[in-house]
């Protein structure tokens, strides 16, 4: 006879089995009753709905306010919802087409840009766009003075320094559909940066900004940025208005533009969803009037999810995502996915993402005042190992400050090759400078010399590639007699150091520096390296180089620009001001059958194209 204990255990097992069966049956019934297309976002394994696209990337927008956003994902969203006067022509970074502007002229002295605006342009809520709205939009950016406003402030300002200063209070008080006579007097004033000519024409007068009374060869590039995009004054007014020096919290998560997409939702930490603007003004244009930047959207819905690279790759594999943006270090992974196209882009795209170099601040570390020491370091780094081990070959070495693939790179670097690794020469130079050094064979040079002082080497701990590169550099330099102490800081702290003005007390006189484009212009990069006097630019300030920089940025003559950039490049090259390291390549990753992306280094969408309006499925 079975004991009561055995009976109890047996009952327990039976009960457990019944419970498990019930749970499984309930689950099966639930899924059988599910109506997948109506209840789920694009799901794993489901056939992609051909009127929508799911893109996944890691970084999230900071804000959707075009006057404030300063990160790639923010510009990516803003570019679909808002529009400015001009944009790049296809894949070009030097020619432009009109978006809200139908045409424009430039004065002979290049100080005045006059735009004739398109008629019939409206915001997605039906509010009209006109020259008064454009005037408001630009001054709104300047009045708010948030981080990226300097892009416009180089050439434009709120006031003329004498008789006029546009304030937030003024901006909030004007009726932009039918301005009063006093409002018109203000907007029509010719002595200001942004001058309305009439309701359909607007003029930009350069000279009031930080560049002073000088033309700027890349002014149109600055107008392509979100900072100069049209914002609906009525919408802003109903969401808090403009405040001098402060962002508008409500505009962070809402958007109202003239673009081909509208913002359906932004769920911070999860996704941005864009839907086709059914009231889009461009839909009324004839085919001959359209260009790639203003054509109506083809796909009804774009959803951008924010997930780590590994998770995005899993979703791409399953078909949940049709396009992802991941670093090029995942090339060997994505290239093997079935049904997926992976393509490496030209160096210009990597340059737009970031150019990388080693800085050496002589103000904070005396040995860096010696050119021979800097030259020794240039020879002491094994660039090929960094490219091969860190990027699996998907990086290019470069000669700065003009970034590879940008205008005038080839002309400025003619006859120069990237710094080459030569440990023997590095050791000899270090010894020549008076320090103890070591040859690759182990022999010591200048044994009676001064041991090279230990130096802190800063890098971004949030960047896996910078971390690996820093370790390789430390090993290379240690081998010749330069001991570096690796000092990692998280990105925000790291960037606050390298973008600070140089002092003689900085704790990080050496490290990996980087620069990303703010707008696609050679002058933007060159100005940073030659004129900003940051710790991260080696506190470089050479009067001749600064003069050449200004000549290049104010010249519209190619020969003059080429000559200036060539002089700058050579001066910095032979001075070993910065050790030009690498530019990581960028790649496109999408499922087969996705087409319509027009690559442009200025692009923020998946980091390589500007607009989603032309993206569609081939079948």
């Amino acid at each position: 006879m079975r004991s009561s204990k055995r009976r109890a255990v047996g009952r327990t097992v039976v009960v457990a089995i019944i419970v498990i069966v019930l749970i499984v049956a309930a689950g099966a019934a639930y899924f059988a009753a599910s109506n997948l297309p109506n209840s789920r976002t694009p799901t794993a394994g489901a056939t992609p709905v051909k009127t929508s696209l799911v893109l996944e990337e890691e970084d999230q927008p900071d804000t959707l306010d075009p006057a404030v956003t300063y990160v790639t994902p923010g510009w990516e969203v803003v570019d679909q919802v808002y529009q400015g006067l001009v944009t790049y022509n296809g894949s070009s970074t030097t020619s432009f087409v009109g978006v809200l502007a139908k045409a424009w002229t430039v004065s002979s002295d290049r100080m005045n840009y006059t735009f004739l605006l398109r008629q019939g342009v409206t915001f997605s809520n039906g509010d009209s766009f006109n020259a008064y709205v454009m005037w408001y939009s630009v001054y709104r950016t300047i009045a708010m003075a948030q981080a990226p406003y300097w892009i416009l402030n180089q050439n434009l300002a709120a006031g003329n320094g004498v008789t006029l200063n546009v304030t937030a209070a003024m901006l909030n008080s004007i009726n932009y559909s039918s301005p009063s006579p006093s409002n018109l007097t203000l907007m029509l004033n010719p002595h200001q940066s942004v001058q309305v000519l009439n309701s359909s024409a607007i003029r930009f007068n350069l000279g009031y900004g930080t560049n002073g009374m000088a033309p700027y060869s890349d002014f149109l590039a600055t107008l392509e940025t979100p900072m100069a995009m049209a914002v609906d004054p009525a919408f802003v007014s109903s969401h808090g208005g403009v405040t001098d020096g402060l962002p508008n919290g409500a505009m962070t998560t809402t958007a109202m533009g003239t673009g081909f997409y509208e913002l359906q939702s932004w769920i911070p930490g999860q996704s941005v969803s864009l839907v086709k603007n059914v009231n889009y003004w461009g839909a009324k244009l004839s085919k001959s009037e359209l260009n790639g930047a203003i054509s109506p959207a083809i796909l009804n819905n774009i959803i951008i999810y924010f997930k780590p690279a590994a998770a995005s790759i899993a979703d791409l594999r399953s078909g949940t995502a049709q396009m992802i943006f991941v670093p090029v270090t995942y090339y060997n992974v994505t290239n093997r996915l079935p049904g997926v196209t992976t393509r490496v882009l030209s160096p210009a795209y990597g340059s737009a993402e970031a150019v990388t170099y080693v800085y050496m601040d002589p103000l904070a570390f005396e040995p860096f005042n010696n050119t021979i020491v800097r030259e020794a370091i240039a020879y002491g780094i094994n660039y090929r190992v960094i490219t091969a081990n860190v990027f699996a070959g998907h990086a290019v070495q470069w000669v700065g400050p003009v970034p590879p693939g940008f205008q005038y790179y080839n002309e400025s670097t003619t006859g120069l090759s990237p710094y080459q690794y030569n440990a023997t020469k590095a050791a000899e130079l270090l010894a020549q400078a008076g320090y103890v050094s070591h040859l690759p064979s182990g022999a010591t040079l200048n044994a009676g010399g001064t041991p090279f002082p230990r130096v802190n080497f800063l890098y971004d701990s949030d960047s896996p590639t910078d971390t690996q590169a820093a370790q390789i550099i430390a090993t290379n330099l240690g081998a010749i007699g330069i001991t570096v102490s690796l000092s990692a800081l998280p990105y925000k702290t790291y960037s606050s150091v390298i973008f600070s003005s140089s002092t003689n007390t900085t704790s990080y006189p050496m490290g990996i520096g980087f620069y990303s484009e703010d707008y696609t212009a050679t002058s933007d990069y060159v100005y940073y390296f030659t004129s900003d006097n940051y710790i991260g630019t080696s506190n470089y300030a050479d009067a001749n180089v600064i003069a050449w920089t200004r000549t290049a940025s104010t010249s519209f003559d190619s020969a003059t620009s080429i000559s200036s950039y060539r002089n700058i490049t050579r001066a910095m090259y032979y001075n070993y001001t910065d050790i030009w390291l690498y530019v990581a390549e960028m790649m496109t990753v999408n499922q087969n059958g996705i087409t319509g992306m027009t690559p442009n280094p200025a692009g923020s969408a998946a980091a390589y194209f500007l607009y989603f309006n032309t993206v569609n499925y081939t079948s």
């Binding site: 255990v9 327990t12 599910s34 900071d62 020096g245 769920i267 899993a314 606050s496």
Partner: protein, 325 residues
Amino acid sequence: MFVLLGVALIVFFISHVLSPNPAILWAGPKAHPETVKAVAQEYHLNDPILVQLYYFLLALLTFNFGPDPQTGRPIASEILFYAPNTLELVLASMLVIIVLGIGLGYISGMRFGTKVDSAIRVFYLTTWSTPYYLGAIVAVLVFASYIPLFPSSGNGTVGFSYTPITGIFVLDSALQANWPALQSGVDHLILPATTLALLSFGIVPRIMRSSILDTRWSTHVKAARARGLGEGEVRRRHVLRNALIDTTTVIATTFGWLFSGTIIVEQIFAWPGIGQFSYSAIISANYPVLVACVFVFTVGVIVANFLADVIYPLLDPRITLGEGG
């Protein structure tokens, strides 16, 4: 209260050690000098450290964390947006942990020494020792890619017309009788909640098993059997109930661990919760947000432990609230 104060002090001093110039961090590397100055003034960053500490504690007490330097929105409102989403995830995970953890621990303890016991121990030790990042990615690959059963992104809100009431999507959908949204919410909740639960729950069956083993051969259980009570009643009233006392402590502790797990799991599943929010704040050195998140996490753990203390007397009448042990 003292726990909260201690945590606040630690966070305050660490945040000030991390950066030489917080004003530049918050304003942005290319911020106008006037903006940097305004930020320094706003957050009293140039004041003496004790003055900064005063304003810091004042802000915590009034739940006024100020505006998010990155978005300009009140941090309190951002917390109120993210926290319910994490609560939804954590509560769902807790449900799985309680059912699975107690159930498996009970079975393992009652089937001590058998193959069932071994299998259960292998199972929970394996999931428990798996790193969150690895486990979450594997879950996505297996259940959203190779065997496409569940969605792998979001909490289901994209595309749904949704009026937040509590901020918990599943609950709000049910309250508004929005059945398609509810279905979507549950669909999206299953995989991340189960993943988070399985990667966190190992301590629960372990302690449950240990408690069962301690209790099932104890004197009072033998006495209960000797009095003629049925085996089911012995197990329910004398074994399980007593074993749950220690297990409840562990479940309350697990609640706190779940929050740390959400930082990774919410990333993988694009779940818009406070874990994600905290991670972004850490990456961007957004100290005001970081302080607020740490404060919220601390409050959550304290509440969980308090609830555990409340449940004890229900399990063991010998224990009353306010008494030690």
